[in-house]
Subunit: 493 residues, 2 copies
Amino acid sequence: MSKEFATRAENYSEWYNHLVQKADLAEHSAVKGCMVIKPYGYSIWEKMQQALDQMFKDTGHSNAYFPLFIPKSFFSKEASHVEGFAKECAVVTHYRLKNGPDGTIIVDEDAKLAEELIVRPTSETIIWNTYKGWIQSYRDLPLLINQWANVVRWEMRTRLFLRTAEFLWQEGHTAHATSQEAVEETERMLDVYADFAENWMALPVIKGRKTANERFAGALDTYCIEAMMQDGKALQAGTSHFLGQNFAKAFDVKFTTKEGKQEFVWASSWGVSTRLMGALVMAHSDDQGLVLPPKLAPFQVVIVPIYKTPEELEKINVRVEEMRKALVKKGIRVKYDNRDTQRPGWKFAEYEFKGVPIRIAIGPKDMESGTVEVSRRDTKEKEVLQQVDIETKIEHLLTQIQDNMYKKALTFREANMHRVDTYDDFKKVINEQSGFVYAHWDGTPETEEKIKNETKATIRCIPLKQNEMDKKPGVCMVTGKPSEQRVIFALAY
Amino acid sequence: MSKEFATRAENYSEWYNHLVQKADLAEHSAVKGCMVIKPYGYSIWEKMQQALDQMFKDTGHSNAYFPLFIPKSFFSKEASHVEGFAKECAVVTHYRLKNGPDGTIIVDEDAKLAEELIVRPTSETIIWNTYKGWIQSYRDLPLLINQWANVVRWEMRTRLFLRTAEFLWQEGHTAHATSQEAVEETERMLDVYADFAENWMALPVIKGRKTANERFAGALDTYCIEAMMQDGKALQAGTSHFLGQNFAKAFDVKFTTKEGKQEFVWASSWGVSTRLMGALVMAHSDDQGLVLPPKLAPFQVVIVPIYKTPEELEKINVRVEEMRKALVKKGIRVKYDNRDTQRPGWKFAEYEFKGVPIRIAIGPKDMESGTVEVSRRDTKEKEVLQQVDIETKIEHLLTQIQDNMYKKALTFREANMHRVDTYDDFKKVINEQSGFVYAHWDGTPETEEKIKNETKATIRCIPLKQNEMDKKPGVCMVTGKPSEQRVIFALAY
């Protein structure tokens, strides 16, 4: 199949677009900037949602649902928030259509809203306006709420999953009695995201803090997880924000402390989106198609029968049904494709392209010898295994694949981390090698901006954990001024 | 607690509004017509979603996601659809805001959309426009897809859950090669809805077909399930539509048959919404608060300790922890409320109001005698049970409560079904007794309209199954013209 579309080396971007669409993950819709998430893609997203949702509940959060629309005036209440979000957004101005003179339907000008409504780009404002009614006393805190929702941020240049006008996400919004509790929550959820990325997506991530320039509009501090894609670029895979008392002040949310004093509430918010789907594709897939980590694959095993006569197929069907049941009993998601409308070769290519972690082929010879042929999608290794107790072997192999995918991504990232000390070296590495660059920076937005303008590289994060070498103070590669620690630069999605 | 708010007999509507808000199910938001679904209410909705989603998957459906926005012109393509939906809807006309001269933010008139976008009131148009690209051959059929989404239908007079501008729902959209298959799908999903209502919500429903007047805009036939609320009014709890080839023709979706001919595709669509939350409350709850069926209760059992000293509590804690583990092992959702900030009496009232199916109280005497006091929310019966093997008894009791709630609702409905043969009797029953009225009708929209205008009663459905008496032909109670079978009239939500 590799000849049908660009390889990663030939054109990474084209390779990605082709894969997303032809593997039935998503496609562009008739509405500019909005995507359709197709059943196969949505099934992966559902598995992400289920895993994350359980992790949120295990850390004490409940789900709720807040309105899609936000009154325009709400955005003005938090000054930096409006700058960051209210500008590029969908604005609802009318609530009725009518028949026009020529038979088409037109907007009814009599049905103009007194105040325009914004389709939520994020929900801090409407949620903190609601929290005002929910929080009176320290007994009402902490308030730990998450919402699964669609949001809209108007985008002119869109890419499936990575940047679309409408996307799906979850947004956590928590309220706390103290600054410390809110910071702890911010960090806890960053850990949850990192845990999810590493253990479910098989995606190694670096936890860090954003610079002031890159902070969420309205936050005092933004934490993020950054992952490396196979072209060496960075992708921000999740963010967790410490909002201080900014939104509590904007919406006048106070509580009575144990001591009877009135204080503003402290806040965090955190989110991941369907962007993770893009990260999943770009981190693992190859020139033959998707490579899915077993934990998120819609089906983990596909079984393909090889046969010439209906009698052969009938016998294989019986044997496979036993195998299928044994696998399902282990909690393994199995698909048996015995359609007679497609040949085995077509099916092999199809499931390879769709990234199914394990393929089992079984033919008349296997029936005789009590074997099956097992192929791994990640390494493309094949082996012949006995049918006896196949479910245990497959279970074990799925764990191996999940681990191997993580290790492979980690090895790739380690091989593409660079430490540079001069701006000349920096430019050279960014231009010629890509990857993550650890370098010293003087901490000013001006230097950050200069580097960005001259190289397109941005500071992805100030990493929370570093090895001894990187943690040491140094001098900024551009200005020579003092730097506390190395930060990570990269080209980014 | 009954004194604090209106009883059902005093003011059913006020009783409902109070319950929904004070039991933390939902509240009105700052955005006119839009609700906030609170964590306790959302947790019930999640359980509904999970059960329905599994039922959809078990019947071969996959989830997908389509855009929130629909180009205005799409609505014009199906004539009756635009009449039914495009009129009362949220219209997006601009995609940017900017700073106004006085510092407030205003709509940027330079960012006017060439074509207005409608926030989806339902997704037939955008989905069938997409299906055009997905369906070429009979091999692509059937296409069985569902979407969980928010939709917006502008409403001036709103009621929490029952009628809101934005609500959450699922919408199934299927494509078939033949009319018969599409009809079978329409009926299958009606059965799924009835199954869900009866077995999860403990809500008996009547399956039937809508009259032409009440049909979905764009459907050839609309099937529904109708439930009776405690005030005798009907609530439509789900609909399933046979769309014929209307949308396939509007969006030019043809397929090649096995014989190589080009034909338009046949369609169904079906949906239930957060309206079910309203039905759940109105069907079962009482003057003391919510009554939740065990299968949908966020927690099915609450355990409240009765103690005077910290030592007593400590001992109870240990015993309860054993019990809690045994219950959880049985898959029972348990909450242990040993907060010392509230007294047992407050907790009893609170969980009664929240509709928790079973309350277990345990005090020092119980600790001595190895007993607990178990109270059922549905019948308010209490009994003292031995702690030994309590999990089995509770499991059994939960099943009993679920069954009892269904039977109680069914008995109520049977007691409020009336058969009338004259229009005078009809008016009398509708005015004085409420409930469902089985009567003969001549099948014309004119008579239906006349009855509606004169009595406010509508034809809820032409029931699919009837007893022998009702199935027999008769004469219309209004015009004396022939009638094929009795239909169900009622006042409705």
